[in-house]
Point group: C3
Chain length 257, copies 3
Amino acid sequence: MNYQTLHIIESSNSLTLTLHRPDERNSINMRLLTELHHVLDIAENNSHYRSVILQGENGVFCTGMDFHELLNDIPDSTYENFANSYMSLLKRFTQTSKIIISLLDGQVLAGGVGLAAASDLILSTQRTQLSLTEALWGLLPACVMPFLIRRIGFQKAYYMTLTMDTMNAETAHKIGLIDEVTDNLQDNLRLLLLRFNRISQQTVGDLKSYFRKMWIITDAMESTAVNELCRLATNKNVRTNIKNYIEHQQFPWETYP
Amino acid sequence: MNYQTLHIIESSNSLTLTLHRPDERNSINMRLLTELHHVLDIAENNSHYRSVILQGENGVFCTGMDFHELLNDIPDSTYENFANSYMSLLKRFTQTSKIIISLLDGQVLAGGVGLAAASDLILSTQRTQLSLTEALWGLLPACVMPFLIRRIGFQKAYYMTLTMDTMNAETAHKIGLIDEVTDNLQDNLRLLLLRFNRISQQTVGDLKSYFRKMWIITDAMESTAVNELCRLATNKNVRTNIKNYIEHQQFPWETYP
Amino acid sequence: MNYQTLHIIESSNSLTLTLHRPDERNSINMRLLTELHHVLDIAENNSHYRSVILQGENGVFCTGMDFHELLNDIPDSTYENFANSYMSLLKRFTQTSKIIISLLDGQVLAGGVGLAAASDLILSTQRTQLSLTEALWGLLPACVMPFLIRRIGFQKAYYMTLTMDTMNAETAHKIGLIDEVTDNLQDNLRLLLLRFNRISQQTVGDLKSYFRKMWIITDAMESTAVNELCRLATNKNVRTNIKNYIEHQQFPWETYP
C-alpha cells in the first residue's frame, strides 16, 4: 500500500505509526481509516510484531473527523462507511492480540480522543490537551463514548461531552484518561515494551477477549453508536453549522435563543 | 401554582429553585416533589430557559425523605406515589434538554444526595457534608443508587451506604461526586452558564438521550429501585425504628444483639 | 472441623481468620477454600457474629492459587471444583449479611487480590504490594475480574492485568482498591466495627442483595469466569509454563518470539 496519511517505522517487534496529515491538523478522513486498518492487518499477519504505537506530530495527535471531507456532497452511505470503519477500528484496538499504545504530545480532539481511549495504554507529555468539541456543532462523540466510559467512568465522560472543557495532561492522568505522564515518551515506552515481552501474544488476545465479556460494551451498543454518528453527520442543521464555521468563521451559538 | 416549598428566581435564561422547608430542614415531602415536577414542566415548555439551578438555604441543601410525612397513617399506595415521583424526578433530570445544576453549601443527606447525583453538574462550597444515613433505620438509598453509581462507580457508592460516613467537599470532589469546589458558587455558576450558551437545547437533549444508551440504567432497574423503597418504607420494623427516634430519640441499634 | 490452613480468633461479635499456610506463602488450595466456606457457614448460623475479618501473616496476605496443587496429576473436574469453590466464596462475601473486612499487610498476589476485592472493606498498612501476575504464565485473573472491576473500574483492572505491575498501598488507595491506609490496622478496625454496630444484619443482607441488582455482575458472568479459569488451568501450555518455572526456574517468556 502507498501510505498517504501515515508514516510507518518498523522496529524489531513493533510498528510505530505517525498520523501525517499536516495540512488537515491530523484530522481523520476515510483514507486514514483505511490505512490504519491496513497496518493492523499487516501486524496481525506477522507474529514478530507484538505492539503497535500510535502518535501524532508537531504538537497534534489527532483533531477528529475531517470536516472538509464531511461537507463534500457525498451519498449518506459514505458516512455509514466512515462511521463503521472508525468504530470497527476502535473495536479492533480492543480485540487484537497486538498491544496498542498511544503516545500523546499536544492536541487531542473529538475522534482523536477515541483513538487514544480505545488503546491499551496511553502515555503522554505534560503539554497534552484533550477535549470533546462535538456538541458545539450539534454532533456527539458517539463512537468515542463506549471506550471513553470504559476508561474513565460515566460521569467524567459525560462531563467532558457536555462542558466541552479542555483537559490538561495532569487532570487527564488523575482521572485515568492518561496512564502515564512523562517528560520522555520514548524512554517510558522502551521500558513498557520490555515488560510486555514477558506476556505472550496468545495471552494478550485471550485477555482482551475475556475483558470484553466483563464489561457492558456489546455489538448492539456499537451499532447504536454508529447509527447515532450517521444520523447527526447527515443532519441538515449540523452540516449548516459546520459549513458556516468553515466558510465564514461563524459559530452556531451566535444564533441560539 | 402557589409554591409552598420552593422559592423561584427567574433570570434571562435560567430558573433558580431554592428548596424552602426551613422547619423540616429541607426534607422531601410529596408537595416538594410535585412542585419540582411542575417547575420542570414550565422550563420544558419555555425554550428561553436553558438551565435549572437547584439549591438549599441556611447551610442545608436537602436532608432526604420527610420522616414525619412517612409516619403518617396513610395507605401504601401513597408511598408508591412518593417513590415513583422521586424516581421520575431524578430520571427527568437526566433526560430533559435543560441543564440541571445543583449548588451545594452545607448538609446533603440521603435523598438529597440523589437530587445532586442526578444533576448534570454539581458545584459546591468547602463546607458541604454529604452522607447516606438510610441504613441506620433499616432503609436503603434505593432510588439514589442508580445515579450515584453512575457518578462515582460501584464501590464508592457501596462504601457510603454501608459505612454511613459523612464525606466532606474535598473528598467528594476527589472521587467525582462534586464537579467543582469553589469559594464563590455564583461566580463559577455564571461562567458555566456562559459556556453552556454555546450548546443548543436540541443537542443537550440528544446528548442525554444518547448517554442513557451507553450505561446500565434501564427502566427495569428504576422499577426495582422504586419497589425496594416502597418495600422498606412500609416495613413495620423500619417504621418502628423511625418512630422511636422521632418520638423518643431512641436509636435502633441500642436494641441490636 | 480441624482447621489446617486457618487460625481463627473469636471475639464478642466477629471472627478473625488468619490465612496460615506459611510453607506455601498463603497460596490458595482446595483445603483453604473448604475451610473458608466452613467458617462462613458458622458465622451465618450464629447471629452474634456481625463481621468476618480476613488477614495474612508475616508480610503475606495471600499469593493466589497453589501452583503445586495445580500441577498434581488430577482429573479436570478437580479444577472445576476449585474454580467453582473460589468463585462462590467471593460471591458469598458479596451476599452474606456478615460484613467482610480484609486487612492487608504485605504481599497480595493474583487470587489474593480477589479475596480482598470481594470484601466489603479493605484496610491496609503502607507496606502492602498488590499485583496480578497471572498473565506471566498464560493464565488470567478470571474470577477476580468481576469484583475488581466493580471496585476500581474497567481500565484500572485491565491495566493491572496487562502490565502485571506491582502497585503499592498509596496508589491502591488513590484508585479505590484499598479503602483505608493506616499505621495501625487494629485501631482502625476497632473504630470501624464500633460504627458497624449501628447497622442491623438484616440491613446488611438487604443492602448486598440490592446492590447486586444495581451492577453488571450476573450468574452468567460468574459462570463465564469459572469456565475461563478451568480452560486456562487445564491448558497444556499453561501447565508447562508453570512446571518449568517451579522445577527449573525457567520463565516462559524466555522462549517467546
